[in-house]
Amino acid sequence: MNTIKLKTFVVAVFASWITPLLSAGEISGTFVFESRKPFVALVYLADDKSGAKEICGPLDQKNKEFSSRLIIGREGSEINFKNSDEMNHNIFANDTRKGIQFDVGLLSPGSESNATINWEEGHVVRVGCKIHPKMRSYIANINSSYAAIIEFDSEDPETTFTISGLPDDVKEIVVWFPRMENLSFVLSKGDSKNMDIIRNDRKYGELIISRI
């Protein structure tokens, strides 16, 4: 049986554009999973309200995949959807629990459309394609400038990330995964923590995180 060689990579770690001081703090973390890894994770500092900058946008479609597994914006952000594929696609969200619905209709090859983030801060909405149900991506509404998006795609059991340029008074970490329990905790300068990653009362992995 063939073994698919997967490669771990961190898609985006940002906030470097707001790193005015070399002395600003930095968070570094390592995810370790015991078996299957999540599709994606979002780590951000929830008590920072300086406003998210859209990253990894626009959300494009090519080779029957979304260009990013997760993009972020804040309340009112326009998300630009594109179809760079050679076949028709669609983008929709149907979050019945939060009452969030949109559907951009048919996106023929080369076309674009937009949707606005108008749901509550901190909520992540799954989007998909009605023609190709295997396709999925997520859009997060956060208001923080300090965040990292981690795409897990590796047989390597460990995946690392950093968030730099942190002011000392921003401390509340939120870690979001699809289908896993979110983590929420305070991490001050000099702290280190090991957090269990849980789904349905079962431990799937661990986050080892520290701040300097």
Partner: protein, 352 residues
């Protein structure tokens, strides 16, 4: 099997037979291998998404096998899941529209069950999002097994052998719809075809498939562009398309009401497709060769047809090569019949 179908089957299978040893590597062999390695793979069980990421125990799978083959899952005890999904007929039943427990034909062709462990959506119209969700629907459907789930639960509870098997599988003898669905789904996830001649070719055996099948593989990717929908290790992207059949069935549109999905149906996986004729959601095409000819002419009804369906301009040799390739992705799968729990009492239940 009719003589014509026998000959076509024989021809398709010939794609899976070893080519005569070649004195030197055929000039195109490296090219074919590059195509194969770029576009195809052997199914990887690591990629199966089990509920809660937990593989079922052997006991749960065994229970699922018993339920799958047990006629008592239909109200009048005339049919099991295996009646229509017969392992001896490609996990289908060889007829256009299966007959339900009451003898009436159902409205769509019975799909095969190979490699559903990797599937995203189920039924021709994709109305179930998991095998667990799918499992009980044909049992309860009046046109199929016609069995109200509460009566099924009572019936299984009345059989001491089933109480014992449920206890072995789940730790206690509670019999619930969720456990029935989970066991059936767990059994179906074990129906895996990953050792076809084409898999052997992918694993490095250049002579595992014929030259015709290799040419067919190249056509599958390029000129015929089958791979635009039949991609990945299981030859499906789980998408929905109106492929241009003359049919009044609105298909996926009944589930997702957008115009492009009118008369669109799920792209089926192609592993062991040779064994599950007839083909398409309406069972209207009897052989793989006819299927290729249908796509070659760009479908029969162009209204709202998918933009991916266009005349292919394949010549007769190319049609045969494509069929040869489709013949190389099959491997008969033996599914042993389990010993079923004996009835310990006769109990008649009146349907509410």
């Amino acid at each position: 099997m009719t003589p014509k179908r026998f000959l076509l089957t024989l021809f398709a299978l010939s794609g899976a037979l070893h080519s005569p040893p070649l004195p030197v590597l055929f000039a195109g062999d490296q090219g074919y291998r590059e195509i194969a390695e770029k576009h195809f793979s052997v199914p990887d069980t690591f990629d199966i998404e089990y509920p809660d990421d937990l593989e079922p125990s052997e006991e749960v799978v065994e229970l699922g096998s018993m339920l799958f083959f047990d006629n008592r899952l239909s109200f009048n005890e005339s049919q099991s899941c295996a009646t229509c999904h017969n392992p001896d007929h490609g996990l289908s039943d060889g007829i256009r529209f299966s007959l339900g427990a009451t003898g009436k034909p159902v409205e769509r062709n019975t799909p095969h069950l190979y490699n559903l462990a990797w599937n995203q959506v189920f039924f021709w119209d994709g109305r179930a999002a998991s095998l667990e969700e799918q499992a009980l629907a044909p049992i309860e459907a009046e046109a199929e097994m016609n069995m109200p789930i509460d009566i099924l639960v009572d019936r299984l509870k009345s059989i001491s052998g089933y109480r014992e098997v449920f206890e072995k599988a789940y730790g206690d003898d509670s019999i619930t719809p969720d456990r029935i669905a989970a066991a059936l789904a767990s059994f179906q996830r074990e129906i895996i075809v990953d050792n076809t001649p084409f898999d052997s070719y992918l694993n490095g055996n250049d002579n595992a498939i014929s030259l015709a099948a290799k040419r067919g593989m190249a056509l599958f990717v390029d000129k015929a562009a089958c791979i635009k929908c039949h991609d990945g290790a299981n030859f499906t992207d789980n998408s929905f398309h109106n492929i241009g059949l003359k049919s009044e069935d609105i298909g996926r549109k009944a589930i997702v009401d957008i115009p492009i999905l009118n008369k669109a149906f799920k792209v089926p996986g192609l592993r062991n497709i040779l064994f599950s004729a007839p083909y398409m959601h309406d069972g209207s095409i009897g052989t793989l060769e006819e299927v290729v000819r249908f796509y070659n002419r760009g479908g029969d009804d162009t209204e709202n047809i998918s933009s991916l369906i266009k005349p292919l301009h394949l010549n007769e040799d190319e049609i045969r090569d494509l069929v040869a390739f489709l013949g190389a992705i099959n491997k008969p799968l033996e599914i042993p019949r389990p010993n079923l729990p004996e009835p310990n009492s006769i109990k008649f239940v009146t349907k509410k």
